[in-house]
């Protein structure tokens, strides 16, 4: 035996009709609004300082090369300038957009900083003598930036991306895809050995294709979703098969982000196929997972720095390159 549907509705309506909000408190609104504005300003200042730190370390690393004994012999001055440039620019662009409320700006900020954090963490371990000061700094600055972003950043935005069904999944997917574009662009710029132009061009093409997919997906086009998923599969496959040349760490990084995007994209494809919104509420992402990954990356970077502070270990890593 259940409840009477009509009576349940009536009871709910009666309960709501009794509501009488208290008298308006304008001063409390203004005070809360002002406090939030101050917090946002503080966030902007911290982002600018972090960007200055990253930019400064990059310039010092490039102009004063070699800045420390922890740099491998094979690393040249121009190489240092090129290795970090995409992520440094990405970081600064992210810092410039941190105050924007639109969804696209928030995605760019998060994507730029995630890409920097992941690349720096992997780089600390796989290329320890390449950018011994810049990579740990980048990891720290990106982690600090990501941790200070408001948790509700993706919730509604300024109405430029009004999607609600699967909103979180699409926004996370887009963020990962934009981060991949930055990682691929950086890889394209990093290929400096003779005869690597073809690989650099392939990286550039992969980044461009991914970017077109991102634009399509942001505009909620089916081809955008398909292109993003296909590009991910191709990049991950090409990285492991040797068509695109990366260190195993970067190949693993691109594969993990590709797999995450596939996992998020499959329910979307099903929705597209059925052409209707799901009946039941989707399981929301667990909010602390992202923060846990950020902290894990920082710890990994710190342990990498400690490990390669030993000259013998560093010399072995440099020789193995």
């Amino acid at each position: 035996m259940g409840f009477d549907y009509a009576k349940a509705l009536e009871s709910a309506r009666r309960q709501h009709a009794k509501l009488a909000p208290n008298a308006v408190n304008v001063d409390a609104w203004v005070a809360r609004s002002t406090r939030r504005r101050h917090i946002a300003l503080l966030r902007q200042i911290i982002a600018a300082l972090l960007a200055l730190l990253v930019l400064g370390v990059w310039l010092v690393s490039s102009l004063g090369h070699p800045t420390s004994v922890a740099t491998c012999q094979w690393v040249t001055g121009p190489a240092v300038l090129r290795y970090g440039v995409v992520h440094v620019v990405g970081f600064c662009v992210g810092a410039a957009f941190v105050q924007r409320r639109s969804t696209w700006a928030r995605m760019i900020v998060a994507a730029a900083w995630w890409s920097s954090l992941l690349a720096a963490t992997v780089g600390v371990w796989t290329q320890p003598g390449a950018l011994p000061v810049l990579m740990p700094t980048m990891a720290f600055a990106s982690a600090a930036g990501l941790l200070m972003l408001p948790a509700e950043a993706y919730e509604d935005g300024s109405g430029d991306f009004p999607l609600r069904v699967h909103r979180r999944a699409i926004v996370v997917m887009l963020t990962l895809a934009i981060a991949d574009v930055e990682t691929l662009a950086s890889a394209a710029v990093n290929h400096d050995e003779p005869g690597m132009l073809g690989y650099a061009l392939l990286d550039g093409v992969a980044a461009a294709v991914m970017l077109v997919g991102v634009i399509g997906l942001y505009r909620l086009r089916g081809w955008g979703l398909l292109l993003t998923l296909t590009a991910n599969v191709c990049v991950a496959g090409a990285a492991w098969s040797g068509v695109l040349v990366y260190d195993p760490g970067f190949a693993a990084l691109l594969t993990v982000t590709a797999m995450l995007q596939m996992m998020l994209g499959v329910p979307l494809l099903r929705t597209l196929w059925r052409g209707d919104v799901p009946l039941r509420r989707e399981r929301g992402a667990v909010p602390w997972v992202g923060r846990l990954v950020i902290i894990a990356c920082v710890l990994a970077s710190v342990s990498g720095v400690v490990r390669f502070s030993d000259p013998a270990t560093l010399a072995a890593a440099c020789a193995a390159h």
Partner: protein
């Protein structure tokens, strides 16, 4: 008394404008929040949050809709975020006290309270767009055109969502226990 900066004066002007809107539409917005969340005890907080966001975003307000519709849009966003947070919290902490309806007056009919609780449990299981269609079209008994204007969803889509949501909630209520 300390002198206010131009920014503070401007913020106060905006708040005064919204205070007027609160006096005219506050009760209706509160009812929408209550209908969406099913938590009368939270309405005051969420209503305040709605108007604080409105203070912050008044420059985004365009004359494409009325102030009332715009405020309802913000209120729905606030209520939606609250429900999403509540759902996550409940998943993590199964020991939370019973949800909607538990704080209603003690003299209220126990059966009716239980029915409302089950109704909101069914709504919690629905996806957001279906929940919104149900709240606007069924609980608040708005016309499809009015609900469409407030939610920004096409009338035909809203109609289909309302039917699916209603069938689901009815089945949950009548089949429960």
């Amino acid at each position: 008394m300390t002198a206010r900066s131009p920014a503070e004066v401007e913020a106060t002007d905006v708040a005064e404008r919204l205070a007027e809107a609160y006096r005219c539409h506050g009760a209706a917005v509160a009812r929408t929040i209550a209908a969406y969340t099913g938590e009368p005890s939270m309405v005051e907080d969420l209503l305040n949050e709605t108007f604080i966001r409105a203070v912050e975003r008044i420059e985004d307000f365009e004359d494409r809709s009325t102030l009332e519709t715009w405020l309802h849009g913000i209120a729905l966003n606030v209520a939606r975020a609250h429900v999403a947070k509540r759902t996550r919290r409940r998943r993590i902490d199964a020991a939370l006290p019973p949800g909607p309806g538990a704080t209603a007056a003690v003299d209220e009919d126990v059966g009716a309270r239980e029915a409302v609780r089950v109704l909101y449990r069914a709504l919690d299981a629905l996806s957001e767009p279906l929940r919104e269609a149900f709240v606007l079209c069924v609980l608040e008994a708005r016309t499809l055109q009015d609900a469409s204007r407030r939610s920004g969803v096409a009338v035909s889509t809203l109609h289909a969502r309302r039917q699916r949501a209603e069938a689901f909630v009815r089945a949950r209520l009548e089949g429960d226990r």
